[in-house]
Amino acid sequence: MGQIKLSINGKSYTIDADESMPLLWAVRDFVGLTGSKFGCGIAQCGACTMHMDGEPIRSCSVPLASAKGKKITTIEGIGTEDKLHAVQEAWIEEQVPQCGYCQSGQIMSAVALLKTHASPTDEQIDEAMQGNICRCGTYDRIRKAIKRAAVG
């Protein structure tokens, strides 16, 4: 156990936890932000995707030790109270979610993609979004929403 300092969505937190605890559980169970989800625990599904210093990561497989001193952003941190992120707006326009459980992770992957590729090609979308499973099968709409957000 140790006092671990974390920066999440621009706020800093000190957490008394084991350094081996995955970031996902610290964010959900200690910080109380539950938008990031648990789907597989082995970096296979992307439901837990967050950004660490701007890069998308699978937080179920990143121990707190590696998150120390890094800037973490979660789904709760990409928009504001009054204004959603353009990707979230596109997600509503295209009516992407079904059960919705995978969608925080999908959106975080899409936001990261659009930061590096303002108008991604289909191949770039495939590449960036391949790590995110949607068992409900919303992929076609995800692709359309990313293109919509890229234009808008």
Partner: protein, 723 residues
């Protein structure tokens, strides 16, 4: 709350739907403890006066409609209240929709399965909406001293003579005591303002910003976490537990014997209790349990061998029309083929779990259940308490596909909460769910048939060899009685003069089985639509013509297929190196068909485009029907060419998404989905699109490569090479 401010609050943040998880309770820049002290709950209290069990209107104008069917992605959170709102004559975008608790005394059946929600609730909810509208109009008529005939309504207002109007909120006090006549006037379908308009789903806003609460997000004060170690092999008891290493893990407080309730195959399990999930999980990983009576030699390889040999058995007659035996014997060129479909896991993306709080003779759960009423009954039985002392809260379900029709993790959480006297959150790992099942039954289907001189089907026999879900769960007799559902949807298909269907039972005990999206249609249709294609080829007929011919007497299906033919450019010449396939099926009273186009790539094929037509009667929310068809296509393709569940010596070999692979975004072809327009009563759209996916694809593969795929799953990148 004022209507305007309500609208603003529910506009984009989704905050109106739930009491969210407030960040202010988190100690920023301090040392936050483990956040178990927050009462995060689903707000399911309706405000205002009740005009019926589903509808409350507050004098301020706020209208609340209860969503009494669990939302698992299928869209009933929106489509069910939408039906009532239409007859009430209010725009569903301006009202509050709340998730109902599990309370079948109040709401009637709440189960979601068999694509039945819209189908079963269509008339009841229209009647409820229309009767409430009548009450409000009568109240206004009384106020103005005019006849009810001289009133009309418009989006939450009753309009009188010369445009005077009163809001539903103004009228509700008087309206609540007004008698409803026995026959209520319903809107004509042409008068619908909201149904059939592809409205935006009201749950979606909360699903893009992390605020939607799923089962896993529910917390109550004093709650602890449980990670479970199940007995490998679907049966058996605990012999001994060595928890020395487990108890060394900081945060672990208890190691408790529990159960894995699964009806006749209930087995023992062990739970590690801790103050964080991570500690509980590490504790479970460090636990050493030895088991008794859990060994058996079940293997899927042997099951399929046995099922193949069982195709030679006579089996039980299910249905017969005409004289199959005589007609079949007449032909010198009979056709026969055998098809195989695998055992599959449901694998909804939210892992299994539940939060339960059992105190004395009362219990409360936050449960991702598809069957709240059944769940309550099972809880009452296990806990030996009265059903009225049980509260079932139903957060959003992170997918289900049938997996949440039964209540293992819910009962497990209840058992643990009762034993340790605290609220317990059970959360299974992905591995515990994938390996322990229950699974979709695998099957072997044997078909035989003959053609007439004109190249029409003269005789056809479809023999289904598969385990019975009813037997696997409840020990129902399936060796002397055909389980009807195992034959779906074979009787609602083509008109064939000499036809019979047969069933052969396969016992796979103790392997647990369960209804999986579209159930036996997902396996039977693959065989049926493949064989129809084989016969079409043998008759040298275009497979589309061949099917249209068989559907001549069935106007709706015929029309659907003709529409699909046109939309998919079926009759256009194919580009070089392309192939095409078609398949249709009827499932839970709806019909869907796909045309799949593929092209050759290396040793395999690439799926270029899928055209789909769906007929589920009146489209309550067309865009959502399209979404369900998309979901069916993705799940159907996954089932066709990803992984089968493999069991060896009683142990499941697949464990997580690396060896039970899902279709991913890079594998999705272009989709073109069309919803048929008609005025037939609506039926559900969640399942019908799934069964014809695999055969439409394999029929296309045959068309392109001459390779007839009779066994699922197959490898898409190898099917281009014959032999």
């Amino acid at each position: 709350m004022k209507r305007r401010s309500f609208l603003r609050n529910t506009g984009l943040t989704g905050a109106g739907l739930f009491v969210g998880f407030s960040l202010t309770q988190c100690k920023v820049d301090e040392v936050p403890g483990i956040i178990n002290l927050l009462k995060t709950n689903i707000d399911n209290e309706a405000i205002g006066l009740a005009l019926n069990n589903y509808l409350n209107i507050d004098p301020s104008g706020l209208i609340t409609i209860m969503a009494h069917k669990p939302e698992m992605g299928q869209g009933t959170f929106h489509s069910i209240p939408l039906i009532l709102a239409e007859e009430l004559d209010v725009d569903p975008d301006g009202i509050s929709i709340k998730i109902a608790k599990g309370d079948e005394e109040r709401y009637g059946p709440q189960g979601v399965g068999g694509s039945g929600s819209v189908r079963d609730m269509w008339m009841p909810l229209r009647n409820l909406g229309a009767s409430a509208r009548h009450m409000l109009r009568q109240a206004a008529a009384n106020t103005w001293g005019i006849d009810i005939k001289d009133t009309s309504t418009d989006n939450g207002f009753v309009i009188g003579k010369e445009g005077v109007k009163l809001s539903y909120g103004d009228l509700v006090e008087k309206a609540k005591d007004i008698e409803v006549p026995e026959t209520i006037e319903l809107k004509a379908i042409s008068e619908f303002k909201y149904i059939g308009k592809s409205k935006k789903r009201t749950d979606i806003n909360s699903k893009v910003n992390g605020s939607a609460n799923f089962g896993i997000d529910m917390r109550v004060e004093g709650m602890v976490y449980a990670s479970i170690v199940h007995c490998p092999g679907w049966k058996g008891t605990v012999k001994s537990i060595d928890d020395a290493d487990t108890r060394k893990i900081a945060g672990v407080t208890d190691v408790v014997k529990t159960v894995r309730p699964l009806f006749k195959n209930t087995q023992e399990a062990v739970a590690v209790i801790a103050d964080t999930y991570w500690a509980a999980l590490q504790g479970a990983r460090a636990l050493k349990v030895s088991w008794e009576d859990n060994k058996h030699a079940i293997s899927t390889e042997d099951i399929f061998k046995t099922m193949h040999s069982k195709t030679k058995e006579d089996g039980m007659l299910d249905k017969e029309n005409g004289q199959f035996e005589t007609a079949f014997a007449k032909s010198d060129t009979p056709f026969e083929a055998t098809y195989e479909t695998p055992f599959l896991s449901h694998s909804p993306i939210e892992p299994m779990g539940c939060l339960a709080d059992v105190k004395g003779d009362k219990a409360e759960v936050w449960a991702t259940t598809q069957t709240p009423g059944w769940c309550k009954g099972e809880m009452a039985k296990m806990l030996e308490i009265k059903p009225e002392n049980i509260t079932i809260n139903i957060p959003f379900l992170g997918g289900a596909f049938g997996r949440r029709l039964i209540h293992g993790p819910i009962l497990q959480a209840c058992d643990l909460s009762k034993k340790i006297g605290k609220p317990v959150r059970v959360l299974w790992t992905r591995e515990e769910d994938t390996m322990n099942g229950p699974f979709r039954p695998g099957s072997v289907n044997a078909l035989r048939g003959t053609l007439s001189a004109e190249g029409k089907i003269d005789s056809l026999e479809h023999k289904v060899v598969t385990p019975s879900i009813g037997h696997a769960l409840f020990g129902r007799d399936a060796s002397t009685k055909v389980p009807g559902s195992a034959m779906a949807p074979l009787h609602e298909y083509y008109t064939i003069p000499n036809y019979r269907s047969k069933y052969v039972f396969m016992d796979v005990d103790p392997m647990p089985l369960l209804w999986w999206r579209s159930v036996y249609s997902s396996t039977n249709v693959f065989a049926h639509e493949s064989f129809i294609d084989e016969l079409a080829v043998a008759a040298k007929k275009d497979p589309m013509d061949f099917r249209l011919d068989l559907l001549e007497d069935d106007e709706r299906k015929h029309k659907l297929l003709k529409t699909l033919r046109q939309r998919s450019d079926w009759d256009k010449a194919l580009p070089e190196g392309w192939g095409k396939g078609v398949a249709i099926s009827h499932c839970f009273q709806a019909t869907a068909a796909h045309v799949v186009y593929i092209s050759k790539t290396g040793t395999g094929v690439k799926i270029e485009k899928i055209h789909t037509a769906v007929d589920c009667g009146i489209a309550v929310n067309e865009n959502n029907i399209i979404a369900q068809a998309e979901g069916c296509i993705v799940m159907g393709l996954t089932a066709a060419y990803k992984d089968a569940m493999i069991v060896k010596d009683g142990v499941t070999q697949n464990s997580n998404f690396h060896n039970y692979r899902m279709l991913r975004i890079n594998e999705i072809p272009e989709l073109d989905i069309f919803v048929m327009k008609n005025e037939e009563s609506p039926v559900g759209a969640g399942e019908p699109g799934l069964p014809p996916v695999a055969p439409a694809l394999t029929n296309a593969i045959f068309n392109l490569t001459g390779n007839r795929i009779r066994k699922l799953p197959f490898e898409l990148d190898k099917v281009g090479v014959i032999g």
